[in-house]
Symmetry: D2
Subunit: 339 residues, 4 copies
C-alpha cells in the first residue's frame, strides 16, 4: 500500500503523518519524492485499510493499493505520463524523439559529420560512446575524456543535446560536466551501485533493458534510481537474448512498449540498432516502434559505416538515415504525433 | 547450387538436362516446381561452377548459388514476391490482409456474429478453430465437423474466405471440403508428416512459426510443404517462447517480418493475439506489424470475449476490433498500402 | 480434487459412486484407470470438501487435493514409483537402465554390430530410428519397414528389447508388430493426435521432452497418453533450447530429473547425446544423470561414427561406449543402484 | 596466433622478441603473464606462420594457433589445469572442494553456527554475503563492514577460508583486508570495470556466470581479469535463465562443466543453490555436479533456514547439509577423487 502525500507538505508535517501511521501499528517507509509528491510505503492488507480511512488524514492526496514491487515507477502512483526533458528534446509528451549518432566517438571529424547528419535528419539528441563496455579486453575501449569533449563541441555546433554511456562512478563524474543525459547500458542494468550513483545526480538517465531482464527487473532498476531521488528516467528496449542467433543479434521485444506504458508512467524508447544488429532491419523496426507507441528511438549512424571502429554492421549510412527520418515522419503523422 | 529451368520445359527436356548434369559428374536432384519453373539442386562449389558455364545450357533460366538449406522457399530462387490468393484475399501483393474470428467455433450464433463483425471491420478471411490442440486432454477440443459446417455457412453469408487449423491427416481431409485455407499450428510446425500431407493438397496453407523455431527451421518447414508441390504458403509469426512470462504469453518477434521478406519470397503475416495473450496489447502490436511490413494480420475476436470457451483474455471485443480496423487503415494508408 | 477408488470396484459400483457425487452437485469426470485404480476428477474447493467426508464413501480409497493440471501422472494420485517393463528391462524400480544404439538403422551389418556392442556394454534396450524426422525434406528419412525388420532381427540375436520412434499413426501401426517400445520424439511432444494414438496401444511409450516444453507441458503430454488408457510411460529429458548455441546443440536440463520424480510417479531417463550434441560431453553427463537420480539413459552409439548417416558427431564409438558403461557402473554402485 | 615465451625471459629479451616480430610485419601485443610465461598475441594466418619458423626463435616456448577470442584463459595456451589455492583449499587439483555458508551474514550467532556446521561437513571455505545485490532497493542490503569482520572471526575460529561478493571498487577495497577470496556475482559478470579492478588485486576470484552469458562471454570475463594480471580465477556455473520458471529459479547448465574444462585450464565449480532455488533439488544436483567433473561446489546453508533474511527457500538445513556432505563423499570416492 502506498500513501501519496499532497504537494508542498513540510518536513514537520511528514514527521507528523509518520507518527500517526506508526500509531496505527505500521512501519511506514518514506520512498522519496515522486514529482513533488512524497510517497510513503506501508505493509497493509487492502481489507484492513478500509477501516482506517487514511484518505481523510490531512496531507494525504491518494492511497494506492499496489501489488507491484516497483512503487515510485508504477503507473498507479502517478497517473499522468512523466515527461523527461533533455535539452530541446522531450520524452513522454506524446512526440517522437530521435537520438542518433555513432556507436563510439572516434574522431573530431567523424563526430561532427555525424552530428550534422543527425540534426538534419531531425534528431534532437546526439549519442556517442566515450566509455565502451566491450566483450573483449583487447577491443577499442573508447576515447574517454577526449570523447566527452568532442561531444560537447558537436553539441555546441549543432544545437543537439548529448547522451553518453557511463560505466562506473569515475566515468559518471567525468560525464556530468560534458553531456546532457547519461546512459546505463544493458550489461549494467543490475549494477546496483551504478544505479544508485546515477540516482544521486541531476541529469536524466537513459536506462537500457538488460539482455535477459524481465520487465519487472527493468522497472526495479528504475526504482533503484528513483529511490535515490532522480526521477528523470527514459527506459530503452534494445533487444533480448533468445534462441534465434543465426540471423539477428538479439530479439527486439517490441510488445514491452505498450506494456511498460501501462505499468509505469516513465517514457520508453526503442533501440532497433542493437536489437537487430543488422542495418537492413533498422528502418522497418523503427517504423514499427513508433507505431507501437514508443516515445522515441535511438539509432546508430556513421558517416562511413564501413570504417566504424565498432558496430559498423548495424550503423546506418547517411542515406539510410535520411530514409529512416522520412519513414518515422510518415508513421508519426499518420498517428497524430509530432516528430 | 540451384538450377532454375525455363518455364514450360517438357519432361523429356528435363530428363536430357539431368543426363547432361550427370555427365559433368553431379547427382542432380529435382526439387519440384517453383511457380512454373522446375528447379534442380546440385552439390557444387561456386568456383567449380564458373568453368562449366551452365547458364549457356538450353532450358536453363538461371543458376543460383545458394547457401541456405531452404531452396524452393528462398528469395534467391524466386526474386519477386509470391502472391497467395484465398477467396477475395491476397497475401503478398503489397496490400494488408486481415484474418479475424474466434479462437474456436463454439456455436452457430457465436460464429455468425463474429463473421459479420469481421466483414464489417475489413477482414477478408474468417478464422475459427474446429479442431483445437489443447495443452490438457480435459479441455474443450473443438466441434470438429459441425464447426467446419458452421464456417462454410458463415462464409456463404458474409462473403469471407475461411481458414481453420488441421492437426492430422483425418482433420485435413475433413477440412478440405469446407474451408479455403488450412492452418498448421505452432505445435505442429515440425510435424513433418502433417507438412507433407498439406503439401499434397491444393489449398493454401497458413504456416505458423513454432514457439521455439529458428527462422531457418520455419523456412525448412515451408520447404517441406513446397517439396511436395504446394507453393501457396503464408508464413505467420505468432510469438516465441522466452524468459519473460510474467506479463505476456509469448514474445512477439516482429523483426522476422522484414528478415523473412529478405530470405524468402513467401508472404508473412503476424498474429498479435497469441503473441501477447493480452487484449490490451493487440492493437498497438497490430499497428507495429503493419509498419514493419507484414502482409497481413490474424487476430482473435469474439462477440462476447468473457464467454469464450478458449483464449477469452486475448480476444478483442467488437468495439476493440473496430478500433483495430481503424488503426490498421491509418498506418496502411500512411505507408501507401491498401487495407 | 481427485477421488481414487479402491481396486476391483465393479462398473455398477462406479456408476453408483458417480450418482452420489452428482447428488452432491458435482460433475464427476472419470479419468481412467491409474494402475488398477479408477480415478474420478471433481471440481471442488478443499474447504467445501471437508464437510462432505468423501473418504467414508464405500469404494473410495483416497481423496487427493490436487493443484496440478496433470492428474493421472501426478505423484499425489499414486505415491509409489511406477515401474515400466520393456522386455528384460525395467524403468522405475531403482535400477539404472541403459538404452543404446545408432541414431538411424542404416544396414543389417551396422545394426547387428551396434546391437552386439550394446549388449556387451550392459544395455537392455536397443534403439534405432526407422522413421527419421529430419529438419530438411532432402535428408535421409529412414529405412522404414526394412529398418523395423532389422531391429527385430537384432533383438532376436542379442536378447535386447527394442525401441523406435513413431511419427504418425501409420508408422505407429507398422512399429507395433516389430518393437517392444515406441518413442514420441521431441518435435511431436505436443502432437496431441499422436499422443492419443500411442495412448490406445499396449506398448510402453518413451516420451521425449519437447525442446521448449515446460515441465508442466511435458507432464500434460504424458497425461494425454494416460487419459487414453496407456500408463506405461518413460519420460526422457533430451536437452532444451536456450541462448547458448555456439558450443552445444542443446542445454541438458538435468534438474528436471529430481523435480519430475517429485511431481510424478513416472520414471524419467536422460538422453545426453541429443542434449549436448558432442561425443566428448556424453560420458560425463551420463555419469551426472545417474548421480542426479535418473532411472536410465538413452545414448547414441555407432560401430563407425564417422560413417553415420545422421548425428555422427554425437555418436559414441565402441571404445567410448565401453568407457560409458564402466563409468555408469561405478556411479551406480556408489549410490547403491543396480546397473 | 599466440606466442608463449619461455619462463624467466628478461624485459630486454621481451623487447628484443617484440622487435623481431615487428620486423616480420606484425603488431605484437603483450597479453601479460600466464603462470610465469609471458604471452604475445599476433594477428597471423596459420599458413603464413609455417614459413616463419617462429618456434626456432630464442625464448619462444610454444606457438599456439588460437581461434578463441579468449587467450590467457584458453586451454591451448596452458595445457595443465590451473590450481587456485584459497587458504587450505585448492581448486583444480582433482579434489572436490566445498564452499558453504549462508546467503547473507546476518549476525554473529548465525554466522558462527553456520561456520561450525560448514567445517564439520567438510567445507574448506565459508561463504557469506556482506554486500548483497538485491533486485529491490527496499530489500536487506547486507551488513557491509560488520559482516566482513564477522567472516574473519568465524574463519579464525573454524580454520575455514572465506569468500564474499564484492559489488564495486569500494566494497572490493574493504573486503581485501578481511577475506581470502572475492566473488564477482552473476549480475556483474560483464561489469568490466569491476572485472578489471579484481584483476589488479592479489586475491583469488570466484567468477560466477551471468544468467544469460554464453560460455564464450564467461571466459572473456575471465580474460578481462587475467589481462590485468590476476590469474587465480575459479569459474562458477549458477544456472541460466530459460523459459522454465514455474518450478525452478534457473536452469542448471551442468554440461558446461566438462565443456569449460576442455576450453580452459581454469577450475570450474557449481552452485546448485542459486541454480535451482529449491532446497529439495540441491543434493541430487550436487551429486550430479561432482559426477560431471566439477572441481567443487558452493552451497547455501543456514542454521535455521526459515529465519533467513534472504534465500531461505534454497538454504540447506544442518541435517540436509550433513546429507549433502555424505553424498558428495560417496560420489567423489567412486570416481577416485578426494573430498
Amino acid at each position: 500500500m502506498v500513501v501519496v502525500l499532497k504537494q508542498n507538505v513540510s518536513p514537520s508535517e511528514v514527521a507528523e503523518i509518520n507518527r500517526r501511521l506508526e500509531g496505527f501499528g505500521f512501519s511506514p517507509r518514506l520512498l522519496g519524492k515522486r514529482r513533488n509528491n512524497i510517497v510513503i510505503d506501508i505493509d497493509i492488507e487492502p481489507d484492513v485499510l478500509k477501516g482506517l480511512d487514511l484518505q481523510t488524514l490531512p496531507w494525504v492526496e491518494r492511497v494506492v493499493p499496489l501489488n507491484n514491487p516497483f512503487k515510485l515507477a508504477s503507473r498507479e502512483v502517478r497517473g499522468e505520463n512523466s515527461v523527461v526533458r533533455v535539452g530541446r528534446a522531450a520524452f513522454g509528451d506524446g512526440s517522437v524523439t530521435l537520438i542518433a549518432g555513432p556507436c563510439a566517438v572516434e574522431s573530431r571529424k567523424q563526430l561532427l559529420e555525424a552530428a550534422r547528419l543527425a540534426a538534419i535528419g531531425g534528431a534532437k539528441v546526439l549519442r556517442g560512446g566515450a566509455f565502451k563496455p566491450r566483450t573483449s579486453p583487447y577491443s577499442f575501449q573508447g576515447l574517454e575524456l577526449e570523447g566527452l569533449k568532442l561531444l560537447t563541441e558537436a553539441a555546441a555546433e549543432t544545437g543537439l543535446a548529448t547522451v553518453t554511456e557511463v560505466v562506473d562512478e569515475r566515468s559518471l563524474e567525468m560525464a556530468l560536466d560534458y553531456v546532457d543525459m547519461v546512459q546505463v547500458g544493458a550489461r549494467n542494468m543490475q549494477n546496483f551501485q551504478l544505479l544508485r550513483a546515477v540516482g544521486r545526480v541531476e541529469k536524466p538517465v537513459l536506462l537500457k533493458r538488460g539482455m535477459s531482464a524481465t520487465v519487472k527487473e527493468w522497472l526495479m532498476a528504475a526504482e533503484y534510481i528513483m529511490s535515490e531521488g532522480n526521477e528523470d528516467i527514459v527506459l530503452c528496449e534494445r533487444g533480448i537474448r533468445t534462441f534465434e542467433q543465426q540471423y539477428m543479434r538479439n530479439t527486439l521485444d517490441l510488445s514491452v512498449v505498450p506494456l511498460v506504458k501501462q505499468l509505469s508512467h516513465l517514457p520508453v524508447i526503442v533501440d532497433p540498432s542493437h536489437a537487430t544488429g543488422r542495418r537492413d532491419l533498422i528502418i522497418p523496426m523503427a517504423r514499427a516502434a513508433v507505431a507501437a507507441g514508443a516515445d522515441g528511438l535511438i539509432v546508430e549512424m556513421h558517416p562511413r559505416p564501413d570504417e566504424a571502429l565498432c558496430d559498423g554492421k548495424q550503423s546506418l549510412s547517411p542515406d539510410e538515415f535520411g530514409q529512416l527520418s522520412r519513414d518515422i515522419e510518415m508513421v508519426s503523422r499518420a498517428l497524430g504525433r509530432v516528430f
